[in-house]
Each structure stands twice: as C-alpha cells, then as structure tokens.
C-alpha cells in the first residue's frame, strides 16, 4: 500500500512539475504547480514527517500559490509568447540533463554498503540532553530547532527579515528626505 502511494504521489509530483514547465497557459501552469506541491507534501506524509507535510500545504499551497495565482490572473497572461530557445539555453539544458543522468547512474551502480548515501538518511542522536527523542512529533521538532539547530534557524530568519525589509523599501517609493510617499486608500 505504502509503495503504491509512494509511486502515485511521485508520479503526481513529477508530472505536475513537467506540465508546469511545458504548459504555455500561465494559469494552468500555476495549477500544475499546486498539484506538484501537494504531491510533494504527500511524500512528506509517507515519510511520517507530519509537520513538514502540513507546513508544505500551509505555506506553499495555501499562501504562496494563492499570491502566484492572484498575480497571474491580474496581469491576464492567457498564453505566453512562443519563443524558440537560443543556443545557450539548449546547451545548458543538455548539460543539466547529462549531469542528472550521470547522478542517477552513479546511484544505481555503486554498492550501497560502501557509498556515503546511507549515512545521509540516518537519524541524528537525541536532539538534547532532556531526552526528547528526535522524531516526527512537533515537540521533538521544536526542541531540535531551538537547541541543536538554533544557528541555521536564526540565519534563515535573518535572511527572511532582509527580504521583507527589501520588499518594503522597493514597494514604498521612499523620497529623498527619507519619508514614504503619502498614498490615499486604494480601491480594488
């Protein structure tokens, strides 16, 4: 059953991503992206990472994609222009595909006992001395995040803060004196 679900959602994710790239209708593209993201969330669920699953739905499918769809519908791009890819793009995609194939071949031909891959999937030790096990529960996740992985967590938060300030600066049209321009209430 789990195997079947894994293949089902993998196909859903990859197919959604592929159709997103090849579809020329922007709204259809956004819809396929949602399908792809939900497929990804389902894969998290199969790994019993319930918290990541719900964040994937809440943040990407629930908020980010609504904004995407919002913009796509607002600027009304029914069909993108038909452009032929230039030489550089073709060369880059061929190199990328070759690298991907190489990676897949390497994974399937090396002996799994000697390669470094199994190490990646090993669970870390208990996240803390308090004995809260490193697990899929929100409690274990939160404990790990605020003790062992505090630095990456803070750095990520700082990055997001910088991005947010950047957006505010760009969108506010700050004048030479440093004040934001006065704007009346916007009517939608």
């Amino acid at each position: 059953m789990e195997n079947f679900l894994f293949y089902l959602f993998s196909v859903l994710t990859i197919l959604g991503a592929l159709l997103l790239v090849v579809n020329r209708n922007a709204v259809n593209g956004a819809m396929f992206m949602i399908i792809s993201l939900i497929g990804m969330a389902a894969l998290f669920l199969l790994l019993e990472a319930y918290f990541l699953f719900i964040l994937q739905i809440l943040v990407y499918a629930g908020a980010v994609m609504v904004l995407f769809l919002f913009i796509v519908m607002l600027i009304d791009v029914e069909k993108g222009p038909k452009t032929r890819p230039d030489g550089l793009t073709i060369a880059a995609s061929i190199v990328g595909l070759a690298l991907l194939l190489l990676g897949i071949i390497a994974v399937f031909t090396t002996d799994s006992a000697t390669s470094a891959l199994p190490e990646v999937t090993k669970l870390p030790e208990a996240a803390s001395a308090a004995g809260i096990p490193f697990g899929t529960s929100v409690r274990g996740y939160g404990y790990g995040l605020f003790t062992k992985y505090m630095l990456p967590f803070q750095v990520t938060g700082f990055l997001l803060l910088i991005a947010m300030i950047g957006v505010i600066v760009v969108s506010k049209k700050i004048t030479a004196s440093g004040d934001a321009e006065k704007e009346g209430p916007k009517k939608a």
Binding site: L58, A63, F70, L74, I132, V138, K187
Partner: protein
Amino acid sequence: MDIVEILLKILFAILVVVVIMTIAAYSVLAERKVASWIQGRVGPNRTALPGLSAIPVLGRFLVRMGMWQPLADGVKFLFKEDPLPGHVKKWYYCLAPVVALVPSLSTVAVLPFGAYWVNGVEYPLVLANVDIGILFILAISSLTVYGIVMAGWAANSKYPYFGSIRSSAQMISYELAMGMSVIPVFMWANGPATGFGDLTLFGVVAAQKDLWLGIWMPLPAFVFLVSLFAETNRLPFDMPESETELVGGFHTEYGSFKFGLFFVGEYAAMAIGSAVFVVLFLGGWNFLPTFGFLPDWVANPWATWGWFGSVVSVLFFIGKTLTFIFLFIWVRWTLPRFRYDQVMNLGWKYLVPLAVASIIIYAIVIALWDTAVTVDHIKPETFGPAPQ
C-alpha cells in the same frame, strides 16, 4: 488493520459528513428564519410534506417552522436545469464548486466532537487524532480560497472576477491573524501542568477542565472570531459576494447544482469554524468549568454513564456549535458591511498587532504562572514521548 476496522472508519467518516451536511442545510433554514424574525417577517412557512404534515398539531407546527424547506431546496438544486454559459472556461468552471466544498469537509477529520471514558481516562471521539490537529485545520481550510478564485476567473466576466480578487486578498490577510491568535491557546494547553507537548485539539479540550480559555483569553478569542467571520466570507466581511456592488460576486455565473455546492460549502465552513471555536475557547464538550475549586465531576458529569455519556457529550458539543452558528446569523443581520479598504485596514492594522500583543502578554503570564504555581507539581510522565 483488518477489513472491519477500515469499513468502520469509512462508516464513521460518512456519518460525520452526513451530520455536517445536515447542519449546513438547516443553517440555511435558520438563516432565513432568524433573518425574518429580526426583520419582523415570517420566513419560509409553506413547504409541506404529504402525509407527515397532516399530523394534527405537530405537522402544522413543523410546516410553519419551515422544517421541510431545506429538503425542497435540495431537490430544486438537484433537478433544475444546469446551464453552462458559453463564455466560461469550462474545466475550471466545473472544478471550482468542488474545490470550494471539499476542503471544508476534509477538516472534520481532525476535529474532536466528543469523548468516551475507559476506567476514568478520557479518550476523544475523532476520526484521526493527529499531532498537528490545529495546523491541519488552518492549512486545509486555507485551500478553500482556490475554489473562489477559480470560480471568479473561470466565469470570465468582470463582477465574479472582482469578487475572487477581493476574496484572495482578504483570506491571506486574515489567515495570519487567525493563525497567531491560537498560539496563546497552545502555549497554555502545552504547559507543564496539562500538556501533551503536541498540537492536538483533544489536548486543548483536556486542558480546559478548570477554566475555559475564552474566559481568561478574551483577546485571542475575539481576534479568532473576527478572522473566522472573514475566512468564511460572512457579513460584515462578505466582500467576494457583496450583492449590492458585485451582483452575486464570484458565483454570479453559477446556477442550480453548482451554485448549491458553493452555498453548502459556505455553510459547512461556518459550522466547522464554529466547532473549532468551541474546541479552542469554550471547552469543547466539557459541561462547565470547575474554576479550580468546584468538584471534578462538574467538567464532565456524564463521564461515568458509559456509551450514553459519550452521546450526551457529542450532543452538548453540537449544542454549543449551534449557538455559535446562531451568533454568525445574528451578526449578519445586525452589522452593515464594511467597505473593502476598511476590511483590509482592520485585518492588517488592528487584528495582526492585537494578535502579536496577545502572544507576548500571555507568554509572560503563562511563564509567570508556571514558574510560580505549577512547577512544583510537574508530573514526570508528561515529559514522555508524545502520543501518536
């Protein structure tokens, strides 16, 4: 898991959905009846069922209360001609009502609606008692907006389009305040005295035996309630379908069964939103708060009644939920609709700061309380791994 267990699960799921749909259908009737009473009218009082309505006093009374009206409405929605306008984008036009209805029905999976007791230990009556209960509800119900956005865009005319654009902006704004307003609840529910260390809704109800959170957390409760009105597109925030300016809003081009799906979806979302509010702030199926000095049986007098006690707890929970549905209707016919920019201002400039302020205030209060009062009574077993 053997086949009987799976079948039972499916049976329970169908039962829950049937109950939710019934509540949604009768909320429509309640809306019309309450609206009429508030406005000094009578409301639907003609629909009769042959046979049943011939019963001397009761039959006549039920007809006057409009008890058969939802049945007639449903039959009408089902058998009316379902035209497909020529100018719509057909695939999305047909998909939208389904996308609007399915998320609100899916959220009941994690909603505890009652309890049963084995040897004095309380267990929730719920389809799936998952660790991430509240996040699941917030996440899945945020997908409802796709139905509205799709409907407005696929209808390919300007008023539905305005409605859907407004709707997505409004939902994103209020989701934030809503998500933040439940943080104090979970800070308390997971404290050292009561906590399971997870986000199940059952844990929240169990933590409210002594004091319902709505009583000493009125600020988060208020923010949550206002956001709930906005999220379910109810007046005074029904921007997507404000009929005086947008005809019918996002469902202007819809008719018969597809419109019926939107309609039921809205009322189902309202019913489930009320249920979530009851779970978070009004003690779920608990009878009365004990305030710390009343005897324990006050919280659940029916804990020792066996299966009948469970039924009573479910009924009590539904009763509380219905009270809130009545509140939704009452507010709709009392407050005028906000202007669109007022809605946006209220969301971002008042509710979000209020929610942040309540997080800070209650974090301090709960920390002080835990260090001063409960820390001496920590039970070591509460630090074990979270129940799955």
